[in-house]
């Protein structure tokens, strides 16, 4: 249910992208992460606004890094850090397998054709099936950049970093990775889809329902949601129009993800019918096209290419965007870039061309 907030990711690492690095969260990030959750004011809707919850999240990351997490809880948190201020200004969370503790629900948009040769009628109906199809998939969620740090490539860096991180621990991740997009809202910030469907079943408001999900009390979805498929054509047109749609604020992010191999595969959120993007994990741009090269501390010449670069692994994993020159499997990087990555000449780094 937690979906990326608004941001305008740039296509390639922008000049300002070098101001950020993405790194794996540590136990001592708890206070900073809690502050981010508070600042997000509900946008990080899967995170309870308590210091304890933030600590628990980071402990889960530690257990995962140490190989001590159960299949159901294994997951990671990447933080976006402003290099100048060392402030945490964004995050993205990776879950290796969803739905193993509490069922993960969404709607699948299917088609049913009714045809009658006698009436010469052919009609194709879109139908929503409540399902747990995505059980066991990996998920990116809580992709968030602080308002005052947007428009500088932070969101793009987080999405690439997540893919490059997956590449370093590919066996922990599922063959399919998903990310939910915020759905369309009306003028009053309510979801027309929720008003037409969810409201009748939950008898609580959408925010209330989402809060219950955040608290992990998901059994009620099975108990209250419609078990039978819902015919889209029977819903008000305003609601129909939002199924599989996305909030305008995340349109640019969706395009970015689509270029990296995510597709809409007809699953939508049960609350606002927002699109779920899915990818075959091994075909993700950051997984399939990343390559390992050796870093060299040589200031790249002008006209150098732009790269997404990941260094280190586990707790030491760091990603940055930088200019570099690739010559015979050696990547020339500036001293500053190497410092940001916590790498040095001779370090093996994983790079992805920012075409």
């Amino acid at each position: 249910m937690s979906r990326p907030e608004a941001h305008s990711p740039s296509r390639a690492p922008s000049a300002s992208a070098g101001r950020f690095i993405v790194r794996v969260a540590r136990a001592d990030d708890a206070a900073a992460f809690h502050a981010l959750v508070i600042e997000a004011d509900g946008a990080l809707e899967r995170h309870a606004e308590s210091p304890d919850a933030s600590r628990a999240t980071l402990e889960r990351v530690e257990r995962s890094l140490a190989g001590e997490a159960s299949d159901a809880e294994r997951g990671y948190l990447l933080l976006l850090e402003d290099c100048a201020s060392s402030e945490i200004v964004g995050c993205v969370q990776l879950v290796c397998s969803i739905g193993l503790d509490q069922p993960f629900y969404d709607y699948r948009l299917g088609r049913i054709v009714h045809s009658s040769s006698r009436l010469q009628s052919w009609r194709c109906h879109d139908v929503l099936y409540l399902c747990n199809d995505l059980t066991g998939c990996s998920e990116l969620h809580s992709l968030y950049v602080r308002r005052d740090a947007r428009g500088m490539g932070g969101a793009a860096l987080l999405t690439k970093a997540a893919q490059l991180f997956i590449a370093t621990r590919l066996t922990e991740f599922a063959p399919r990775t998903i990310i939910e997009m915020h759905g369309v809202r009306g003028a009053d910030d309510t979801s027309p889809f929720w008003e037409a469907v969810g409201r009748h079943f939950f008898k609580v408001d959408q925010r209330g329902a989402e809060r219950l999900v955040a608290q992990g009390r998901k059994a009620f979805i099975a108990e209250l949601m419609p078990k039978h498929p819902v015919y889209l054509s029977l819903l008000p047109e305003s609601a129909q129009a939002t199924v599989g749609g996305i909030h305008p604020e995340v349109a640019a992010l969706a395009r970015l993800l689509e270029r990296d191999g995510f597709h809409f595969e007809n699953h939508v959120d049960i609350f606002d019918a927002g699109m779920v993007l899915e990818a075959h994990t091994h075909t993700l741009n950051g997984v399939a096209n990343g390559r390992e090269v050796v870093a060299e501390e040589i200031d790249p010449a002008q006209g150098a290419g732009s790269w997404w670069i990941a260094a280190g692994e586990g707790a030491g994993f760091r990603v940055s965007a930088a200019d570099g020159v690739l010559i015979e499997e050696r990547l020339r990087l500036s001293p500053d870039t190497l410092r940001r990555l916590g790498a040095e000449s001779g370090s093996v780094v994983r790079v992805l061309g920012a075409a």
């Binding site: 049913i112 009714h114 045809s115 009658s116 006698r118 009436l119 009628s121 009609r123 109906h125 139908v127 037409a196 469907v197 009748h200 079943f201 939950f202 008898k203 609580v204 219950l212 009390r217 059994a219 009620f220 108990e223 209250l224 419609p226 078990k227 039978h228 498929p229 819902v230 015919y231 054509s233 029977l234 819903l235 008000p236």
Partner: protein, 337 residues
């Protein structure tokens, strides 16, 4: 005296006029002289045939007052025969979350053919005159008395659909919200195509999954299980007879379909078989009952003053007896009003 008997070919013109005046298309009787003619012929055959199991038979009763036809009522022996008759079953689905302290009932409409083969009573069609209500009731009682007298001709379960609500333009809010999405035509167009007559399209075009009622537009929800103003008296009559209307609605217009186990219909429960006694003392002061003989082709029922005497015989007028084609000591079926 109101007399009820099987329709005959010679009733055709009068019935056609009555059906045309009623205006409501096809709810009670076909509003088309040729269809009506076929129906009367089929009805005559049905009354005349030896029947062990309900099948394609249709029985058309007419009510006469002073030899003038004042009403008619059609009994369909087996709904949908030989195919299926589709309805929406209004199912209750309990949605309970102990955690949230929520426990509510959702209603969902499921396409069902469970009523196929049940005996179907069409609403009586009665001319507007002073005794309209009593004639309508007499037709229902006579139909049930006929069914009771001939159990092999009818099913154990009886159904009686009433037409759903339409607006001033003749459009059905229920159809607009449901059927039109699946058939792609307006209600009036659907009526013109007589889609309601040949329900075999149902399985091809209508939804196989239940439709959640609360997700429908309010206009459609409001008319669900409701009948048109003109049918409220019939609605009341069916309730009095013990019919229940919670469970099924019409696929097209959402009108109620009443159901009752045959043995539990009031007329059938209270009907008594008594020896008849013609009694000159019986007159207007005695309560009027529906009396019926037990015949098929020669089925007759009358509304007549009658009294159960202490000796266990049913006293009535000579006129009533002769209309019933019964004589003293013949068994008569008596339904006390």
């Amino acid at each position: 005296m109101v007399t009820i008997r099987p329709a005959q070919y010679s009733d055709l013109d009068t019935l056609a006029e009555t059906a045309a005046r009623a205006g409501a298309p096809d709810v009670s009787l076909p509003n088309d002289p040729r269809q009506l003619e076929r129906l009367i012929a089929q009805s005559e055959d049905s009354f005349a045939a030896d029947i062990d199991f309900p099948g394609e038979e249709q029985y058309l009763l007419v009510a006469c007052n002073h030899e003038v036809i004042v009403g008619a009522m059609l009994i369909v022996a087996a709904a949908g025969y030989p195919g299926a008759d589709y309805s929406f079953r209004n199912e209750t689905i309990i949605h309970a979350s102990p955690e949230l302290g929520v426990n509510h009932r959702m209603y969902a409409l499921t396409l069902s053919h469970e009523l196929s083969g049940f005996t179907l009573l069409r609403p009586p069609l009665v001319a507007r005159d002073g005794r309209r209500a009593r004639v309508e009731r007499a037709l229902v009682q006579a139909a049930l008395a006929f069914i009771a007298a001939h159990p092999g001709r009818f099913a154990e379960d009886l159904i009686a659909p009433l037409p759903g609500v339409v607006d001033d333009e003749g459009e059905s809010p229920f159809w607009s919200a449901v059927g039109s999405k699946f058939f792609g035509v307006s209600y009036r167009e659907a009526e013109r195509l007589a889609l309601g007559k040949d329900r075999s399209f149902m399985a091809e075009l209508m939804p196989h999954h239940p439709i959640y009622v609360p997700l429908l537009p309010e206009g459609a929800q409001n008319v669900l299980g409701q009948t048109r103003a003109g049918y409220m008296p019939t609605y009341g009559l069916l309730i009095d007879e013990g019919f229940e209307a919670e469970r099924y609605v019409d696929v097209f217009d959402g009108g109620p379909t009443f159901c009752v186990k045959r043995a539990l219909a009031r007329t059938i429960r209270v009907a008594q078989q008594l020896p008849l006694a013609v009694d000159g003392a019986i007159g207007r002061s005695e309560p009027e009952c529906l009396l019926a003989n037990g015949e098929a082709s020669r089925f007759r029922a009358v509304l007549a003053p009658a009294l159960r005497r202490p000796d266990g015989r049913l006293a009535t007028t000579g006129d009533a007896a002769s209309r019933l084609e019964l004589i003293d000591d013949d068994e008569v079926c008596c339904v006390t009003a």
